[in-house]
């Protein structure tokens, strides 16, 4: 009930926006009304292509983001803990990080062709840096009193890492993953617009090219937005884990 109350203002705003859209679009010959967008979506859902596009995009994000997580977390922990690793690698990452993933598209196509590997690579490149940076910062900001306590008890390295360094950094790692997944979802759509035969990005570009189906363009945009919201919700569920609650509770 309280949640409903909280959601009420945004529901009202969305309703107003849709109504305005409907009024404006009613006079246009090419810009679709909400009704046409819903009908177009249903058409795609019925013939199954909608699910194929969604599945293709999610698969690419899953692969690229998954690889980025596997590399970024160990690397970030290492860079946070070992000063030499930090001063050696950090400048390189700080140079690579501001390069838009879109700028990598030509190289990605050159190296990986126009198959799935290109967008997966782009997603990887886009999401790996924010996660490395957040993880490293997480290690750097561990409060000294906790490290001192661990030092006081003289625990072995493995225990120090598993019971102090990693869990102390975990909240920041999760923040990094949230940012990383958000960027990954942004990039997959952009990458699919250029090179592929499937995915939500492809759906948008293809719908425009194959007969100005702007109803499907808008449908694709809205679906991208909704799935992005869902993915962020999944990441936020990680923030609810008891082991990281201490960091977010206040």
């Amino acid at each position: 009930m309280r949640k409903l109350k909280q959601a009420l203002p945004s529901i009202v705003v969305i309703t107003v926006l849709v109504a305005v859209w409907w009024l404006v679009a009613a006079g246009s010959t090419i810009f679709p009304t909400p009704k046409l967008v819903v009908l177009g979506t249903l058409e795609l859902a019925r013939d199954g292509t909608l699910w194929d596009h969604i599945g293709a995009s999610l698969m690419r994000v899953g692969a690229g983001f998954g690889l980025a997580v596997l590399l970024a977390i160990p690397l970030g922990l290492w860079m946070g803990w070992v000063h030499g690793a930090f001063i050696t690698l950090n400048p390189i990452f700080q140079i690579l990080r501001p390069i838009s993933p879109i700028a990598w598209i030509p190289l990605a196509i050159l190296w990986f062709g126009v198959g799935n590997a290109s967008p997966i690579y782009l997603i990887f490149i886009a999401s790996v840096f924010p996660m490395i940076v957040q993880t490293t910062a997480g290690v750097h900001t561990i409060e000294k009193r906790y490290l001192r306590a661990a030092e006081n008890f003289g625990v072995p390295r493995k225990k120090l890492f598993l019971q102090v360094v990693f869990p102390a950094t975990l909240p920041q790692i999760i923040v990094g993953m949230r940012i990383g997944l958000g960027v990954a979802w942004l990039v997959v759509v952009a990458a699919e617009m250029i090179a592929l035969r499937s995915g939500l990005g492809y759906l948008i570009i293809d719908s425009r090219n194959a007969g100005n189906r702007y109803d499907l363009v808008v449908a694709g945009m809205i679906i991208i937005g909704l799935i992005g919201l869902l993915l962020d919700g999944l990441m936020r569920m990680l923030e609810g884990m008891k082991i990281v609650r201490w960091k977010y509770a206040h």
Partner: protein, 249 residues
């Protein structure tokens, strides 16, 4: 009783904008095995620095700390530090915290953890996370985590200062109850003279920076003590006088 901790000619300074800031100047004293020594001093006089040097977290510029006759060159589990801020790991449950310092090959780890959780009055809270506990409970968890590794020395740096007055008093009584069961050598830093009289066998009064021992008082009262007794109050006034506070009664 044999000497447990021995400080000889400790000196410590830090670089500052106005040149070198001497914090501790030529400090020497001994603590006997099983003795409870309280160190009081004006705030900012270098008490915490001194404790960090004794516990091994900080190196002195000159002089030597010996524990059991062996020069100290780093912290170890023989002496556990308990601070005002506390360092109970918020990402571990109470049970995991208590077990933290125990090596994996100690037999009956779980039973030991339970025993110490019970000793400090945390029975039933073992599955809880620290953020679900009150400040007093957190201190208990920290004490249990320290005691379970059977340290010979407890270094307590204003351990109860962050608690409210009532809880601080209650924790002092708890500490005495625990120490009656398990004899430890305790070094306590506090700015609370009554706390020192309540707990310690001996009180050292430090001067303002650079810290030196200004006076030394034995506390000859048997436990349980009443800090409100005339003798204890007379001692309190004498210690406060050394700290530069005169009371008009």
């Amino acid at each position: 009783m044999p000497t447990k901790i021995s400080l000889h000619g400790i000196r410590k300074g830090f670089p500052s904008d106005q040149g070198r800031l001497e914090v501790i100047q030529d400090l020497s004293f001994d603590v006997a095995d099983g003795e409870f020594v309280a160190i009081v001093g004006p705030s900012g006089c270098g008490k915490t620095t001194l404790m960090n040097i004794i516990a091994g977290f900080l190196a002195a510029d000159a002089g030597e700390v010996r524990v059991d006759g062996v020069p100290r060159n780093g912290p170890n589990r023989k002496g556990i530090m308990i601070t005002q801020q506390g360092s109970v790991f918020p990402w571990l449950t109470v049970r995991q915290n208590v077990l933290f310092g125990l090596p994996d090959d100690v037999p009956n780890r779980e039973a030991l953890a339970e025993e110490y959780a019970e000793l400090v009055g945390l029975k039933g809270f073992e599955p809880n996370y620290p953020h679900e506990l009150s400040g007093g409970m957190l201190k208990r968890a920290e004490i249990a985590r320290a005691l379970v590794v059977k340290p010979e020395i407890l270094y307590m740096d204003e351990p109860f200062s962050a608690l409210d007055a009532l809880m601080s008093l209650r924790m002092q009584n708890e500490l005495l109850r625990i120490l009656a069961k398990e004899k430890h050598t305790v070094l306590l830093i506090t700015h609370d003279v009554e706390e020192a009289i309540h707990l310690a066998d001996r009180v050292l009064v430090l001067s303002p920076r650079p810290a030196k021992i200004r006076a030394e008082f034995a506390v000859p009262f048997a436990h349980p003590r009443r800090v409100s007794s005339p003798d204890a109050q007379a001692l309190r006034v004498a210690i406060l006088k050394e700290l530069g506070v005169t009371e008009s009664v």
